[in-house]
C-alpha cells in the first residue's frame, strides 16, 4: 500500500485516502483536430515499465488533484507536485529523500 505525500496537505498519508486519476500531462487538443488525433487523446495512454507521470486525488483529505511520478516496477514515488506545474526535472530518476 503506497504512502503518498499530498503536496497540499504536506503529509505522507496511506493510499486508502487517495484515488488514482489517470496519466498526467495529457494535453486536451483543440476541437478542430482530426478524428484520429481526438481518439488518440481519448483512448491512448502510455504504459511504461518504469517512470510514469500520473494524477492522484486526495479524496479523503483536501479533495485536490496532484501529480505523482512513480516507478511502475519498484513503486517508488520519485516526485510529487501540484497540478499546473511541469514535472520537476531535478527530482526525476532520483530516489525520494
Amino acid at each position: 500500500m503506497l504512502l503518498l505525500q499530498c503536496p497540499h496537505c504536506l503529509e505522507a498519508r496511506s493510499e486508502e485516502e487517495f484515488d488514482y486519476a489517470g496519466e498526467a500531462h495529457i494535453q486536451r487538443p483543440a476541437t478542430d483536430v482530426s478524428d484520429a488525433e481526438w481518439a488518440d487523446y481519448l483512448y491512448f495512454r502510455s504504459n511504461p515499465q518504469g517512470r510514469h507521470c500520473e494524477m492522484w486525488v486526495h479524496t479523503a483529505g483536501c479533495r485536490r488533484y496532484f501529480n505523482v511520478v512513480r516507478d511502475t516496477v519498484s513503486y517508488d514515488v520519485l516526485a510529487v507536485y501540484p497540478i499546473g506545474e511541469r514535472e520537476r526535472e531535478s527530482l526525476v530518476g532520483k530516489p525520494p529523500p
Binding site: A21, R28, R64, Y65, V77
Partner: protein, 1000 residues
Amino acid sequence: MTGQPRRLPVGGRVDRTSPISFTFDGRTYQGLRGDTLASALLANGVYVVARSFKFGRPRGVVGSGAEEPNAIVQLGTGADALPNQRATQVELYDGLVGASSAAHGLRGLIDAARRVLPAGFYYKMLMAPPILWRFWEQVLRRGAGLGTVPQGADPDRYDKLNRHCDVMVVGAGAAGLAAALVAARSGARVVVADEQDAFGGSLLASALHIDNRPAAEWVVDAVSELRTFEDVVMLPRSTVVGLYDHNFLTVLERCADHGPSTSGAAARERLHRVRAKEVVLAAGAIERPLVFANNDLPGVMLASAVSCYVNRYGVAPGERLVLATTNDAGYRTALDWQRAGREVVAVADSRADPSGALPRAARDAGIRVLRSHGVVEAVGHAHVRAARVASLNTAGDALTSTARRINCDLIACSGGWNPAVHLSSQTGTRPVWSDEAVGFVAGQRRGLHCAGAVTGAATVAECLGQGAAAGASAARAAGFATDETEPLATDEAPLDAQQALFVIPHSRRTSRAPPQFVDLQLDVTAADIELAAREGYESVEHAKRYTALGFGTDQGKLGNVNGIAILASALGREIGEVGTTMFRPAYTPATFGAIAGRDVGDLFDPERHTPMHVWHEAQGAVWEDVGRWKRPRYYPKPGEDMDAAVARECIVARTGVAMMDASTLGKIDVQGPDAARFLDRIYAGGFLRLGVGRCRYGVMLKDDGMIFDDGVTVRLDDERYLVHTTTGNAEAVLAWLELWRQTEWPDLDVYLTSVTDHWATMAVVGPKAREVLGRVCSDIDLGADAFPFMACREGHVAGVRARVLRISFSGELSFEVNVAAGQAVAVWEALMAAGSADGITPYGTETMHVLRAEKGYIIVGQDTDGSMTPHDMGLDWAVRHGKRHGFVGERSLALADYQRADRLQLVGLRTVEPATVIPEGAQIVADVYRMRSGRVPMRGFVTSGYYSATLKRSIALAMLKGGRGRLGETVHCPLDNGNVLAAEVVDPVFYDPDGERQNA
C-alpha cells in the same frame, strides 16, 4: 508421565508439574504446558495425524513450525471452530479439542489412485467434458479435507490496530533480537514481532553459548533490555503475514487462540497494520527435506524438527534414528538424539569426505557415519520400520551400490536450508539463487534490511553480527545515530561446505520407483514434475500450475525449492535460471475474522438513511438499496404484493396526490463569479442564460461524448447554482467536476460543495398536489402562472424555511419541497396530514420507475451504460452546439462512428400480449424463425420493463439498432424459459406526450 510413552524423563521448556488433557480425533490424551499440539501428539506416540490430499496415504508430523504440511488440524467445534491450523504452531491448553482435517480421506483409493491422478490431472479434467470433472470433484472434495467451515456466526471478537514505527523487525531469533537491540538503543521506535509464544527463535532449542552464557539466558537478557524502552513494542504470537509496498505490514497477533474460546469477551486475534520507515527481515530459514522413495511415511522428519522436539519439548519421536544429510548442521540432530539416550543407528552423509567439526564429534561419540551414502527409500506401512541406504557417486545423482536395509523407526533428513524469503518476495522482489548458501536468498530492495538465516547465514554468530548490522543500517536510514556494537562470540562449531543435493536417486527410474514426494500437502511427486517438463511446461510458473506444486495452504514452504531443482535438472538448466514462483500474502493462513476485525454486521458497509427513514420504517416500507442508501421501494398494505402496491401507488399519483422521499439525490452547491461559465462547459445544454429562480434539465457527458449523468440544475442567485445528480453518482460527479475545475480550467473562479446530506427533499405529486401543498404553505403563490413549471421559489412549508422546485420526474403536477434535514420529519408529517383528506399516499422507487417510464424518462445507469450519446437516447433537445467554449464531450459527438444509423437507440416496446411484462435485460432478435438455428442476429436489449396500471398494459424501454427508424415494426424477445415475446416498436413516451399534466 503415564500415557506419554515418548516423553523424555528430563529436558525441554515444558512444565512437568501438572499434565493437562486434550482431545484429538475423539480420543483424550495428556500433554504438558509448553507443548504444541504436535509435540503432545508425538509424546503420546500418535504418529499418523492425517491422510494425504490425493492418495489418502498416512501422514505424520514432519516439521516443528510454520512449514508443517501434514498436521493440519481443526480446533474447537461449532461456531468457534478454527480450521486449517498447523499442529506444530498450536499451543496446547487444557481441554483443547483438535481434529485431523483430512481424517476421512480417500482410504479406498490409496496407492492405486496414483496411476489415475497424474500431474496435470486438474488441467486435463477441466479440459475434458464437464461431466467428468463433476464426478471427480465429488470424489476429491470428500477426500481433500483442509478443514470444514465453522457452523454459525463467529462469536469471537477481532481487532485491528494501526501502528507506525521507524524500524519493524520481523522475527525475534538471534538476528532479529540483535537488530532490535541496536535499533532500540538508537532511540528509534521499534516493533518486533515473532510467531512463537516466546522470543528467541531457534535459540529456544539450542545448547549453544552466546557471550559465555547459555543461549536461552542471552535471550532473556535481550528481551528484558528491549522491555525497558518505551518506544519498543514487542509482539509475541504474532506472525507477519504480509509485507506490502512502501513498508506496510500486516501482523496477525493470536491473543486468545492458546486457550479456550472467550466467546467474544476478549479479542481472539488482532491484526496490526504497521507502517514502518525501515524493515529488518530476520525471518530465518526452513530446513529443506530430501526427496527419496516413500519419504512421506510417518517417521520421516526434518532433522531440525527432531532436535526441536528433543530439546524444546522433551519428546523423542522414536527409538532408533537414521540421519540422512548433505551438510554438517544435520549432525547436531544425531548428537542431540544420542544425548537424549536414544540410539543413532547410522548417519548417511551424501558427501565423500565429511570431516568437519560436527561429523568428527559424531564419530568420536561412536556414531556410525556412512560417507557417500543416501537413504533411497523408507520402508514401512503406517510408520517407518527401516531405511534402505545405498552409496552414491560424487555428484549424488547415481547409486554406486545396491541398497541395503537398516532397521530404524525414525529417519531425520537435512538437505540444507531454504531462507524464508516469502515476505521479501511479496512486493515483487525476486529471490536470488546463492550457490554458497545452496538456496534462494532474499533479493535486495531499499527500505528492507535482511539479516540472519534469511540471507543464507548458517551460524548463530553470523546471524548475531548481521542482525546488529541490519538494525544499525535500518535505524540510520530512519534518521537515528547508532553506536558501534561489539561482535558476540559463540561456542558453536564451524560448518564445512554442504552438498547441493535435493533428490536421492532410486534404483528404478523415477516414474517406476515408489513415489518420491516433493509437495506433501498436495501429493506432488518428482515423477509429476518430470512429466510436466516432458509435456512442455518449462516455465516454473507453468509447471507449478500444472502439477499444483506449492498450491497448498503451506505455499510449498518445504517442497518448492526441491521441485524447482527437479525441474531444472529435467530441463538441463541451472536452478537460479529456472527461478522461483512468487509468494503471496498471507505467509501462513489468516482468519477472515482478523482481516474483517470489527467491520462486520452493521459496521460492514455503513448504510445511509434519509431524515424520514424511521417514518418509512413505521409505514412498513420495503427497502431498496441504492448505493449505500436505503430507499423505500414500496409501501405494501396488508395482503398486497409488490405488483399490487405499486399499481395502487401509481394510480394515486396519477389521479390524486402522492409523496416520495427524494432526499437521496446528489446535490452540489456551485458558487463563484464563474459558476455559470463552468456549468455551461460541463453540461451539454446551455446554462449562461438560465434566469435566477429557474430550473433546467442537463445532461453531462464524459469527454468521449457518452452520457455520464443527468439532473436538474437551479439558479439560486447570480453566482450560485444547485446541481442535482443521480443518487448513485453523487460522489463521482463531484470528483468529475473537481477534475475539470482543478486541472483544465483553473482560471475559473468557482467552488463546489456537496450538500446532499444537508437537505431533505419530498416530492408532492399528482393533480391535487397544488391544493395539498397550499394548505401548509401560505407565502408562496402556487398558481400556475405565478409559479410555472421549471421554476424555483423560496418560502415556508409547515412553518419551516423551504426551497420549492416545480419540477417533475413523474409527468404529473409536482412540487419538490426542500428543507433542512433536521426539520424534515415535521414537514413530511405536516404534508401527510394536509393531504389525508385527499388520500395522500407515500410511494417508493418502484412506482417512481413506472411513472417515469410511462413518460419515457431515462434513468442513467439503468437505460444507459456508458456507451450512449444524447442522440442515441433522443436527448438532442438537451444539447446546445455553438457555445463559445463548447462543452465536455462535444468534439466526440462528431466522430464518424457516432453518426452510424444503426447505433442502438432508445425506443418504447408494447408487448402484443398486454399483460406480459418483458424482463429487463431481455435480448431483442430480428427474426424469430431463424432463432431455432441458434444463430440469429441480436438487435438490442430491454432496459426497463413494467406493468403500467394507468395504461392497463405492459410497457418497456429498449435500446434497438436504428430503433427510431423502426417504429411500428414487430420485434421478438426470447426468454430463458423458452417463450418468445413479440412486441411493437413505439415512441418511448407512453403517456401525456404533450406534457399537459406537468404544466397544469
